[in-house]
Each structure stands twice: as structure tokens, then as C-alpha cells.
């Protein structure tokens, strides 16, 4: 079974003092890592390979630094690493990233494509859906369970309120992986060092049949106009009364606010 996994390198902003510079945040002091959702996707692919055999290709759109996360995928058990980059790609929106991936992937052999359901930085969740559409194959997102049988995938999709949807989907397909689907293995430093010896294939726009006008802001459907930190305000209402009174007042407020 040949699997392609799309991965992204993202900053960890959990303790960041967020500083806006232009249309981005200041990232010099931030540690970078593989997008958490993508890590679950790589682990899922490796577990499928352990079960069914085949090859795994890890692919990322990004500059040289993206090699870090591709190498990590190789260390986890992937066979090939591919990176797509051209400076013109900077400023691409999610649909354009999907376009770039599709342009590369359509020339590859695959039975299944896994991506993370969303990325930890922009959190748009566009790539798995747009990628599938562009490749003309079915997709499922927010997948928390994946079984392969007879050329079909049975997926569990996470819905709201603890509900789960079960779908059967023909392969090849794009699956957007949700966190918690598995327990990703530990990747040791020695493992990453060994994986560093493997060559990562670099593809430019020419290699995938795209021009600078197809990508970046020029090729995007959406353009980021402004990035700003929302104003910090404090609104606290203390609800008085005994539990029954307080509960009834609270219910009123929640109804008014459209929550109930």
C-alpha cells in the first residue's frame, strides 16, 4: 500500500509573547516543530505500512527548514522525502498550497493520502479538502479511526458533542487526520541522525508544471490584509443567589447569548 503524507513545519506559540511584524508574527525566538496533526498522520501511515507493507512518501511545501520535519517522518518509518519550494510560493493561501501539492502528487503513485486535519498556526483545515477535489478523489476529515479493507477505507469522523460518523470511502482518497487517532511513537535523535543520510528530493515550480503566477499571493484566492491582536477586555458578572436561583439566571443568560 503506497501512502503519501503531507507535513508542515509550524512554530510553537504556547509561551510566546506575540509580536506582530507586518502581516506575520515575530518568529525568531520561537521553537519550531512538526504540526501536531501531521505527526499523528505520519504515525498512522507507519502503522498501516507495518500492517500492509508498501511505501510511505512524506511531502512538504516549504523552505530548507522544512527538511527537519521531513527527516522526522523518515525517522519514524517513511521511505521517501519530497520538498517543494520556490520563493514565489511565499504568501500562498491554503487552496494554493493544495494546488502545489496536487501538482506534485498527480505524478506519483499512491493508494492513500494522509494530511493533518488542520495546522497549528493558521488552523484553516483547507488542505485535505481542496487537495482531494483537485485530484478528483474522495476525502474525509477529522478522522479519529481508520481501517483499510479490500481497497476501501472505513473511517470514523469526529462530529460535535461526542458524536461519531462512520463512513466507507473508496481508495485512493485523502484523509484529514485528527489528533488522538493513535499514540505516536518516540523519535530518537539517533533515529533522526540516521534518517538525515537519506536524500530529500527537491522540486521547483518547473518540476510540477506551475508558474510563479499560479502561486503566492498572485495565485491565491484569499490575501491576508491585516493581522492584529484582539483588544483585551474584562467582563465578569457574578451571579448571586442559591444554587437553584443562580442556575435559572445562568440559563437565561446562556439563552440570551444564543448558547442554548
Amino acid at each position: 500500500m503506497d501512502i503519501i503524507v503531507c507535513v508542515k513545519r509550524v512554530p510553537d506559540t504556547s509561551e510566546a509573547d506575540v509580536v506582530i511584524t507586518g502581516k506575520d508574527i515575530k518568529k525568531d525566538d520561537l521553537p519550531f516543530e512538526i504540526n501536531e496533526w501531521d505527526n499523528y498522520a505520519v504515525e498512522e501511515a507507519v502503522q498501516l505500512k507495518e500492517k500492509f507493507g508498501g511505501t510511505i512518501t512524506v511531502i512538504s511545501v516549504g523552505d530548507e527548514d522544512a527538511n527537519e520535519v521531513i527527516r522526522r517522518g523518515l525517522a519514524m518509518g517513511a521511505d521517501e522525502g519530497v520538498r517543494i519550494y520556490d520563493p514565489a510560493i511565499e504568501g500562498s493561501d491554503g487552496v494554493t498550497i493544495a494546488k502545489i501539492l496536487a501538482a506534485a502528487i498527480k505524478n506519483m503513485k499512491y493508494d492513500l493520502i494522509l494530511t493533518g486535519a488542520q495546522a497549528g498556526d493558521l488552523g484553516e483545515g483547507i488542505v485535505p479538502v481542496a487537495l482531494a477535489e483537485m485530484l478528483g478523489i474522495p476525502h474525509a476529515t477529522l478522522v479519529t479511526g481508520l481501517e483499510i479493507q479490500d481497497g476501501k477505507a472505513k473511517v470514523k469522523r469526529e462530529l460535535e458533542g461526542g458524536l461519531m460518523e462512520v463512513l466507507e470511502i473508496d481508495l485512493p482518497a485523502v484523509i484529514g487526520i485528527q489528533t488522538g487517532i493513535n499514540e505516536p511513537r518516540y523519535v530518537s535523535i539517533m533515529g533522526i541522525r540516521k534518517a538525515s543520510k537519506k536524500e530529500i528530493k527537491l522540486l521547483g515550480l518547473d518540476d510540477i508544471g506551475l508558474t510563479p503566477e499560479d502561486v503566492g499571493e498572485a495565485g491565491s484566492l484569499t490575501v491576508l490584509e491585516e493581522l492584529s491582536i484582539p483588544p483585551v477586555t474584562k467582563v465578569a458578572e457574578i451571579i448571586e443567589g442559591d444554587p437553584a436561583e443562580a442556575a435559572s439566571k445562568l440559563a437565561e443568560i446562556l439563552k440570551e447569548q444564543g448558547v442554548l
Partner: protein
């Protein structure tokens, strides 16, 4: 079973093991964990495949206290055999407790196992009335004070870091710190079996120390002391002299540079940390330092020096739940109470945290306090 191209038997001289069981007999966790280090010595010898290690979850209960190694009549190193077996699980990527994985990944990402940002490593200096030289700010000093991850980030142990500063400043010692460029010493990464990460930290740290031309170092934690002193030379040239702060303070006290005037008026006992005591035979210096504090009545616990009962803080236990059963730290607090101690003096950040926790769970809050020797000195200044 193989490791790094040779068999466990070759690397650890396992044919010499006579299976006497002194190792398991002295093991800190043997009363509650299925960990049987004597059996590990045999398994590592006779098994061809390392698959059996995948079934040994109890490997993670070891605190690396080194009691087994210190008692082996054949001079073998059972603690390192356990660490090497952990290494097999680490390289497999399977059978590693999730919290340990997180601590290791945090070290790669942030330079500390506590999941905290590198940029916040010097937060303990905020709103602090003392001057501390930062060598990365262009300042220079004769001595590097290696603060360590736990004193840098843990709120309780940050008080120990501040006590260190007060004491060393009062004694007029010229020293500097590496600020946010300081990274984990790697001691616990080695203990958790991530030797590749340990090697990487050694390379990075030695490069950093060379960049700042460090020739003398003092550490707060015995774990950092042990790593720099005994483990770093395996992977690089150690061009500096390192001491634990208790060793450094003994010299200061001899030279009469530390003026301790306030009487503490307490009954104090000392808990020997494994990484100073069992691993490095440093027993007298901490006691000499405590002796110099006025108004202290010193009492010795029955299990002291080499027999000190491990607090269960080492070997990755700071990031691992461990075996069910009574925590040895609780037993230790009872040992101290038995001697009528009001204060348990410690010299290690892990002992500080495990014992202070144990004082609460054993119900001695208000009766017994846990204080680092540096804190006691600071109170007596």
C-alpha cells in the same frame, strides 16, 4: 542481545555476574515494583533477541540511584544495564511512557525537559534585588554558575536559585550565568536511555562553554555535577573544573568568606542525594557546610551516607508516575521525623520536590520543612 554493535554481555561484562542478588536486595523500588535488576542482568545475557525488553514496563521504575552498582561485589554496573535496555525502547520508539517522551521532546525543542520556553529560563531573576552577571551579555567572570533546568523553571526551586545568588554574592564570589543560552546538562536524558540526545547536548554544551572560555564551574544540582564530572568526557574534551556548590562552599567557609550570623534554632537532618553520595562519595562537604550554620542541632538519620534512601526523583522519575505503592520519599520523611528533625536539609532540586511533596502526603505539614542548604545559609546571612 545487542547494543551498539556488541552484545550486552561484552559491553557490561555480564558473564562475571554471579547472580548473588545484592543489587535487587538494595534496590530502592524493589518493594513495590516488579523491577528485578538481578533478573535483568541475566535476561540481557541469555536472550538473543531484544524483543523481551518491550514487555518490561518496570524498566521505567528505576531511579538510577546506583545502589545496585555500588553494592555489586563483582564491580559490575547494573544501573547502566537498565539504562541501556531503556535505550532499546527509545530507539524502537515503543514502550516509552508518554510523559517521558514529552520531557525528551521538550529538551530537544526548548533546551529543558519541563515544556517551558527557552526565553523564560531567566524569569527567576525578575523582581529580584540581587545582581547577577549574564556572560551572554558581554560580561565576564572567573566562574560559571550552572543553574540547571529545575532551579530555573520550578517555582519552588527558583527560591533555591535565588538563595544561591544571595549566598554567593554575600561571599563576594565573582561568577556569571549563561542566561537563556544555558541548556539542559543532559543527565536525565542519559538516564532515560536517550543516549543520542545526551550526546547532542554534550556537543552543544561543550561548544558553548568553549565559546565563553569557561574554566571553572559550580552547579546547583548534583545531577548536573555528575554529568559534567563523569559523563561528558566520553563525548568531548572537558576543559573546565566543576564542583557542586557544597564543595565550593566548604572552601569559602575555610577561607572565612561566608559570614553567618543569624541563629536558626532548629533541629536539622541531612538527606544525602544519590548523585552526590552514592555516585560521587561526597558526604562530608554538605555536613561541614551545615555545621557552620549557627544555632543548628544536627541529627543523623539511620539510613545516611551510602545507605541514604533514594527520594525517587532521578532516572526520569520526575516525569513518570512509577510503580504503585508507597513513595520512598514518604518513608524518608518518617525517617526524619523519627530523629525529631524539624528541617530536612537537601542539596538537590529533585530531592527538594519529592520530599516536600511527601511531607504533605505523609501528614507532616507544619511539623517538618524541607530546605536546601543554600536556603538555610541565606537565612543565616
Amino acid at each position: 542481545m545487542e547494543i551498539g554493535g556488541e552484545t550486552f554481555a561484552q559491553k557490561f561484562d555480564l558473564f562475571t555476574c554471579m547472580q548473588c542478588g545484592k543489587c535487587t536486595g538494595g534496590c530502592t523500588v524493589s518493594l513495590k515494583s516488579p523491577l528485578n535488576v538481578r533478573r535483568m542482568m541475566r535476561e540481557a545475557l541469555i536472550r538473543e533477541s531484544s524483543d523481551v525488553v518491550l514487555t518490561m514496563k518496570e524498566l521505567w521504575d528505576c531511579t538510577t540511584c546506583g545502589t545496585c552498582t555500588s553494592r555489586c561485589p563483582r564491580g559490575l554496573d547494573p544501573a547502566e544495564v537498565i539504562i541501556a535496555m531503556r535505550g532499546i525502547l527509545i530507539e524502537e520508539g515503543r514502550g516509552v511512557p508518554k510523559t517521558i517522551m514529552e520531557a525528551l521532546e521538550s529538551t530537544v525543542k526548548n533546551g529543558n525537559p519541563w515544556g517551558r520556553s527557552r526565553m523564560k529560563r531567566t524569569e527567576w531573576l525578575q523582581d529580584f534585588d540581587q545582581e547577577v552577571k549574564d556572560l551572554t551579555d558581554g560580561k565576564s567572570a572567573e566562574l560559571l554558575a550552572f543553574i540547571g533546568c529545575t532551579p530555573s523553571y520550578d517555582p519552588r526551586v527558583q527560591e533555591v536559585a535565588r538563595a544561591f545568588v544571595r549566598v554567593f554574592n554575600a561571599a563576594g564570589v565573582d561568577y556569571g550565568i549563561l542566561g537563556t543560552e544555558e541548556s539542559c546538562c543532559g543527565s536525565e536524558m542519559h538516564a532515560m536511555g536517550e543516549e543520542g540526545l545526551f550526546e547532542m547536548l554534550v556537543e552543544e554544551n561543550l561548544e558553548l562553554f568553549n565559546e565563553f572560555e569557561i574554566t571553572k564551574m559550580v552547579t546547583i544540582s548534583p545531577h548536573c555535577y555528575n554529568a559534567f564530572s563523569n559523563k561528558y568526557s566520553e563525548y568531548g574534551d572537558v576543559n573546565f573544573e566543576v564542583k557542586h556548590y557544597t564543595q565550593f562552599l566548604v572552601d569559602l567557609i575555610d577561607e572565612d568568606r561566608l559570614k553567618l550570623t543569624k541563629e536558626l534554632g532548629k533541629v536539622v537532618t541531612y538527606h544525602d542525594p544519590c548523585y552526590l553520595g552514592k555516585h560521587n562519595s561526597i558526604f562530608d562537604e554538605p555536613r561541614k557546610v551545615l555545621e557552620a550554620i549557627p544555632g543548628i542541632t544536627f541529627v543523623e538519620m539511620d539510613r545516611s551516607r551510602e545507605r541514604s534512601l533514594c527520594c525517587e526523583g532521578g532516572g526520569g522519575m520526575m516525569w513518570n508516575e512509577g510503580a504503585e505503592g508507597e513513595r520512598t520519599a514518604v518513608v524518608r520523611v518518617r525517617d526524619a521525623a523519627e530523629q525529631g528533625a524539624e528541617i530536612i536539609a537537601v542539596a538537590c532540586p529533585f530531592c527538594m520536590l519529592t520530599l516536600e511533596d511527601a511531607v504533605k502526603t505523609a501528614g507532616y505539614e507544619g511539623q517538618i520543612e524541607v530546605k536546601d542548604i543554600l536556603e538555610l545559609l541565606s537565612e543565616s546571612l
